[in-house]
């Protein structure tokens, strides 16, 4: 067996490294934080000295992540989700008098709302929850193994069709694999819906190396939990898809960047990587493809913006999770400035269905359904299924309630009226009504919920998650929340119309002039609430 | 990076070679040995552009990295790595400061480095070469102007009749055909009574000379001492006549020349204090009293005179320097600029253009003059700190957050052996004298190595310790290698039953 991971990064305490190891910073911060429950100044300085980084820089990087505490805090921690899905379900932010209980942005457990997560030294305390996938396995494609196989067993994975796509890829060769992905019409499932095949061809053609494959599992869009379910219940699928991607584009190293709020997913993925390494699926001759491929898991530290691909690269590299200007695009200059193929977990999972030896399976899409439905959970439906059909699958709004709105696409998404739910959930159809599928989050709001409060919650979320790099987002999200706060509390500065004009002015600048999608979409849902729902009585 | 201390610069280095003080020639020879043994000599360059290779190669044949390790303290593997990195780099420079030159073998140390550059052809091309990093803003310019005992302006030899004739024609006065005395020879002449009057401009030898006790005795014993300075320095306090001068860099107009031979303009920005006069004006006035007319005390006029006597500077009109912001010599043409590097001729195809080949130098190692011994077991080396300048005459007048005064810096191991704590005042004793200074522990120092500066001579006269062992070729003293011992003054911290400190 060869080592399934590229390089050891969680350096033990010991002599300083010979060259600065910025890329080892985030794992080192986690190591220290897990051990103590918080990051003492001495611990931060020791990490800086050991990795030969500036102490101010290490402090600057660490303090950009919400997961890290800088005052004493117990190792054993209860995170209370204060995402809007859970607040609507009755969650309340913990008070300052409960030292081991902290508020958390959306935990990605919206089907359990109000959700909590108990950890000790970063590891989950409770057993992994059963997969929230109500549909029977026969009706699923991407999710066909979820809840069916033992996620710790490579043998079980194989017994349920696992590694068949890898074998098929070996037969096809890299160019034909890329052609198959292109021919499938697969588009990115993280929200931007960029054609995957174009990325694969671009990375394969890019000059320079080494090249990287990055799985974006920093699933932080409120209301979204599809990647968590896949990682927890079918982790070998992610490994297999990455090996194939590396083979097809000429990359030898893969990173999976998983958000800190998914400790069970991280544990199961780590186990899968070890098992895959032992079986030769990773290592010097990964999966018998004749080329090396290794995978390293990187754990995020509480930053929504790190779901943006360039911020994610910065985070892996040991910089603050701040997005970079594009161009250059990741296919040319991504992780460590090298050509990089970056995909969301769901997108990667599709690679296995495209390369099914019996022919490509029909394209499907995952939807995380939460809120006012009878059966919240993860649903897999054929492309083109309408929102109404998805809501029906989830059992519809509970008896006695009335549908008020659906927030489609998470905090960066759009509020839809009940009369709009006939829309097919495709990029084109949703765009036609001014909405977006986004990450596939479907948050259902009934008539008992005050929409203005939801809107204010969204504004607070963006203000808290802005990295602070560019002016429109850094200050704009503050001004947006200030206005909404005044409006929700009935204390407008001047007329309501003036306040709404402030929102529009700030929102337009954020959309037009922010560096990344966070700022560009921070006004999106709020604009819809104002314009489509007239939440503040001024819809002009 | 070669340095006895792990300095801040060493933190950036791919390779840090922790050399024992004074072992520069063994290290250079070992690197040369490795370059030759590894077959990395630039054969074509050596054959076409150098002489003396065979003798040189024979000399370094014995200096294996292993043998050198015993002298230098640098592990043989590091020497090999450095040699290969230097020899295989497309471009490589050797830059040095006083750590090379402030030894009694200072010139030979430099020649040993020149050998390495010749061996690899790392000279005469853009991005490659040899560069002494000057410690003062006009060390280069002073030499360029002829303020050396054996040189006329433009580095022309005093002994060269053609050069003398050219200068005499412009100056209208004869130039003595023999070399003058360097600083060390002047002090030696004071000792013998051959030199009895001295005119010091902008130097503070009472504090900056090695073996300062001797230097002060000799200065005080002169028949007549004139000091021209910004301040009443310790040297000026000994003077018969003090000529108050303006600060050349901000109260006068003129030029200075930096380490890369770039001539740049200094300009008066503030009015000088009442009574202070420009250096040039003072010299012209003194000459006038002596009956010589040096012309107007105008820097541009004086500069134009230089351009007539120094071919290196002929093309550098005052207006051109202003327009370009600075010009590197040589600059013989008023219209063209020469390449920014020297010795490019060595690469010429035509032997006539190539000119005189560059000689390899066979230099022998001379260990430091002040040997370590059981009585004096610690090697003290001296140097500068970032925020201070030489004897501190100028820099002590600004409030630096980095400054902590003079200390004797010890390695953690030596401090532990001696049982001394940071801040504790100890006595540092050499064969010439002793000083007292507080201890500072520097993890960048290896056991057996101590460090002090000369910035705070009024408080801690470090140069009482240093040795007046002089390089006969340069006249520079061996400030970098003094043998000392550290003596405790107070009772050990926390000692029981000791006498309480007064």
């Amino acid at each position: 067996m060869t080592d399934p991971r590229p390089v050891p990064v969680a350096l033990p305490v010991g002599p300083p490294v010979t060259r600065p190891r910025r890329d080892a910073l985030l794992p080192a911060l986690h190591e220290a934080h897990d051990a103590a429950g918080w990051l003492a100044p001495e611990a931060l300085d020791a990490i800086a000295d050991r990795l030969r980084l500036g102490r101010a820089e290490v402090f600057g990087v660490a303090s950009s992540y919400a997961s890290f505490a800088f005052t004493p805090r117990p190792r054993r921690l209860r995170r209370v989700c204060t995402g809007v899905m859970c607040v609507v379900a009755g969650a309340e932010a913990p008070g300052a008098d409960a030292p081991g209980v902290v508020a958390s942005p959306c935990l990605g457990r919206c089907e359990q709302a109000p959700a909590v997560l108990d950890t000790d030294g970063g590891r989950a305390v409770a057993p992994v929850a059963p997969a929230p996938v109500p549909q029977p396995p026969t009706e699923r494609s991407l999710l066909r193994r979820v809840g069916v196989v033992d996620p710790s067993s490579l043998d079980d994975y194989r017994a349920h069709g696992g590694t068949a796509a890898l074998g098929h890829a070996r037969t096809l060769g890299p160019a034909a694999v890329r052609a198959a992905v292109t021919a499938s019409g697969l588009t990115g499932r993280g929200g931007a819906a960029f054609p995957a095949g174009r990325k694969w061809e671009a990375v394969a053609a890019a000059a320079g190396g080494p090249k990287y494959v990055v799985a974006n599992a920093d699933e932080s869009e409120p209301g979204t939990f599809k990647d968590r379910v896949v990682l927890e219940h079918d982790p070998f699928a992610v490994v297999e898809a990455m090996v194939i991607a590396g083979f097809a584009v000429g990359a030898t190293t893969g990173y999976v960047y998983v958000r800190d709020e998914y400790p069970e997913a991280i544990a199961r993925l780590e186990h899968a990587i070890d098992a895959a390494g032992a079986a030769g699926l990773l290592g010097d001759d990964a999966g018998g493809l004749g080329v090396p491929f290794r995978i390293e898991v990187r754990r995020g530290a509480g930053a929504y913006v790190c779901g943006e691909e360039t911020a994610l690269f910065a985070s892996i590299e040991g910089y603050r999770g701040e997005p970079r200007t594009k161009p250059p695009f990741p296919v040319d200059a991504g992780l460590f400035g090298r050509p990089t193929l970056v995909h969301n977990v769901e997108t990667l999972a599709n690679v296995l269905t495209i390369l099914d030896p019996s022919g490509p399976r029909p394209e499907t899409k995952l939807f995380s359904v939460s809120g006012a439905v009878t059966r919240p959970g993860l649903y897999e439906v054929p492309m083109g299924t309408t929102l109404a059909e998805v809501l029906d699958l989830a059992g519809g709004v509970p008896a006695g309630r009335t549908l008020q709105a659906v927030l489609l696409g998470g905090a960066a998404g759009t509020f839809l009226h009940p009369e709009e739910i006939g829309v097919p959930l495709t990029v084109e159809a949703t765009r036609a009504i001014g909405a977006t599928v986004g990450s596939g989050a479907v948050f259902v709001i009934d008539d008992t919920t005050d929409l203005a409060t939801v809107v204010l919650g969204i504004a607070t979320f963006f203000r808290e998650e802005s990295c602070g790099q560019c002016v429109p987002c850094r200050v704009g999200t503050v001004r947006q929340e200030e206005v909404l706060h005044r409006l929700v509390h009935g204390r407008p500065l001047g007329s309501v119309a003036e306040e709404v004009q402030r929102l529009r002015d700030v929102g337009a600048a954020m959309r037009d002039a922010s560096i990344c999608g966070l700022g560009q979409f921070a006004w999106n849902a709020i604009e819809g609430a104002v314009d489509r729902f007239g939440v503040f009585g001024a819809s002009t | 990076m070669v340095d006895p201390r792990r300095t801040a610069t060493a933190e950036f280095a791919d390779l840090w070679l922790p050399i024992d003080v004074g072992a520069d020639i063994p290290l250079a020879h070992a690197i040369a040995h490795e370059i030759i043994a590894a077959g990395l000599v630039h054969e074509e360059f050596v054959a076409r552009a150098t002489t003396g290779y065979a003798e040189f190669a024979a000399q370094v044949a014995d200096w294996t990295p292993e043998r050198a390790e015993a002298r230098t303290g640098v592990p043989a593997d590091l020497v090999r790595a450095a040699a290969r990195a230097y020899a295989t780099a497309p471009k490589a420079q050797l830059c040095w400061t006083l750590g090379i030159t402030e030894h009694r073998s200072g010139v030979d140390n430099v020649l040993a480095l020149c050998n390495l550059a010749l061996l690899c052809g790392h000279v005469g091309r853009w991005g490659s070469g040899l560069s002494p990093l000057r410690g003062q803003n006009n060390v280069q310019g002073g030499g360029d102007m002829g303020a050396l005992p054996n040189r006329l302006p433009g580095f022309q030899a005093v002994t060269d009749p053609d050069a003398r004739a050219r200068v005499e024609a412009v100056w209208g006065a004869p130039v003595p055909p023999e070399d003058g005395r360097n600083l060390t020879e002047m002090f030696a002449a004071m000792e013998t009574g051959d030199l009895r009057a001295l005119y010091v401009l902008g130097e503070n030898p009472a504090q900056s000379e090695a073996d300062a006790t001797r230097a002060r005795r000799l200065l005080a014993g002169l028949d007549h001492l004139v000091v021209q300075d910004l301040y009443l320095t310790r040297t000026a306090e000994l003077a018969d006549v003090v000529l108050p001068a303006t600060a050349a860099w901000c109260e006068s107009n003129g030029t200075v020349t930096n380490s890369e031979r770039r001539v740049q303009r200094v300009r008066a920005a503030v009015r000088a204090p009442e009574g202070a006069r420009d250096d040039l004006a003072i010299l012209v006035a003194v000459a006038d009293r002596l009956g010589a007319d040096l012309g107007p005390a105008d820097p541009e006029t004086m500069w134009d005179e230089l351009r007539r006597v120094s071919p290196l500077h002929t093309g550098m009109g005052w207006a051109r320097i202003e327009a370009l912001g600075g010009i590197q010599w040589p600059c013989p043409s008023e219209t063209d600029l020469e390449p920014s590097f020297l010795h490019g001729r060595l690469w010429a195809d035509d032997p006539a253009d190539r000119g005189r080949p560059a000689p390899f130098s066979v230099v022998e190692w001379v260990p430091p003059a002040d040997p370590l011994a059981p009585d004096y077991p610690i090697r003290l080396t001296t140097g500068r700190r970032l925020d201070s300048y030489n004897t501190g005459v100028q820099t002590r007048r600004f409030s630096s957050p980095l400054r902590f005064g003079e200390t004797v810096d010890l390695s953690p191991a030596d401090a532990a052996d001696l049982g001394v704590a940071p801040g504790e005042t100890v006595r540092v004793v050499s064969r010439r004298g002793s000083v007292e200074a507080p201890v500072r522990i520097d993890p960048g120092l290896r056991a057996g190595l101590a460090f002090m500066t000369l910035h705070f001579g009024d408080d801690v006269d470090t140069n009482r310790l240093t040795v007046e062992a002089v390089d006969p070729k340069s006249g520079t003293a061996e400030f970098k290698a003094t043998a000392v011992r550290i003596e405790r003054i107070a009772a050990p911290v926390g000692a029981r039953g000791g006498t309480p400190a007064p």
Partner: protein, 284 residues
């Protein structure tokens, strides 16, 4: 590759710029004055203030002109309603949260773009905080900081490699900080002052200037600037001496600030503590 040229249009006018030139360069070549705040001439463009944005045909969002390379055929618009609005909002957002009173051009730009920073009311959050005065060389007034990143880049990997300061915290709470916020004397700072050199808002200020301003004796109309060469080593850095001729009742000359020309081929505006702060010895 040098010598190639790129043809673009700026507001409909054809402009040719050298390959590698930015959109900002193209705008300048077209004679258009583009406001910039975070853009500095000695550090890589960070494009974080977003005041220099322009409309580029085919691009959904506005484009930061300071960092985007000009590409053949680019159609650049600098005066569209979107561009004017974004610039106005950047001025309002910064003006309502940061003290820009010492920042060049802000009044002029506010007028040009119709910006009214007061429109967010008196309770709008700001970055106001006490001035950090912890050494005799320079002070840090982060009430004036727009987070342009130039000081951290100059301190860090683009020039000084000291890494005494970095951006810490995030969002609106992000600030320039030493480790754990310790004072400069306890940090890695070497007082090169290269951060002051690049600061566009005077958030970083010589202690002399700060003290004179505090005492009301700062008089820029009585100041001259003279270039000379530093006396303290052989590098040969150019110093621009800012001399005030008369301070209060004293009619003597006083060096109140030292900068360095960014165009200097020797050190591109960078100095060390001696050149930046060591001039005091010429004063009695």
């Amino acid at each position: 590759m040098s010598g190639h040229e790129v043809a673009v249009t700026v507001d409909g006018r054809p402009v040719v710029v050298p390959e590698g030139a930015t959109v900002l360069d193209a705008c300048t070549a077209a004679g258009i004055d583009t406001p910039t705040l975070c853009f500095g001439d000695t550090v890589a463009a960070r494009n974080v203030c977003r005041i220099c944005v322009v409309d580029v045909a085919g691009s959904r969002a506005l484009v930061p002109s300071c960092s985007r390379p000009a590409e053949p055929g680019m159609e650049i618009a600098t005066d569209t309603p979107r561009v004017r609005h974004a610039r106005r909002m950047v001025l309002e957002l910064l003006g309502s949260s940061v003290d820009l009173s010492l920042t060049d051009h802000v009044e002029e730009w506010n007028a040009r773009y119709g910006a009214d920073p007061d429109r967010f009311g008196p309770d709008a959050a700001t970055v106001a905080q006490p001035v950090k005065v912890d050494n005799d060389c320079f002070v840090r007034d982060y009430s004036r900081c727009i987070l342009c990143y130039q000081c951290t880049d100059a301190c860090g990997e683009q020039w000084q490699h000291t890494f005494a300061i970095a951006i810490a915290g995030r969002g609106f709470d992000a600030t320039v900080s030493t480790e754990h916020g310790v004072g400069l004397p306890d940090s890695a700072c070497v007082y090169c002052g290269n951060c002051i050199e690049v600061c566009p808002t005077d958030a970083l200020m010589f202690r002399t200037e700060f003290d004179l301003r505090t005492m009301g004796t700062w008089a820029s109309e009585r100041q001259t600037r003279t270039d000379t060469i530093c006396a303290f080593c052989g590098v040969g850095c150019t110093l621009t001496l800012h001399v005030q001729h008369g301070v209060g009742d004293d009619d003597g000359d006083r060096i109140v600030k030292v900068t360095s020309p960014h165009s200097s081929s020797v050190t591109a505006g960078n100095l060390c503590i001696k050149g930046r702060f060591g001039a005091g010895h010429v004063h009695p």
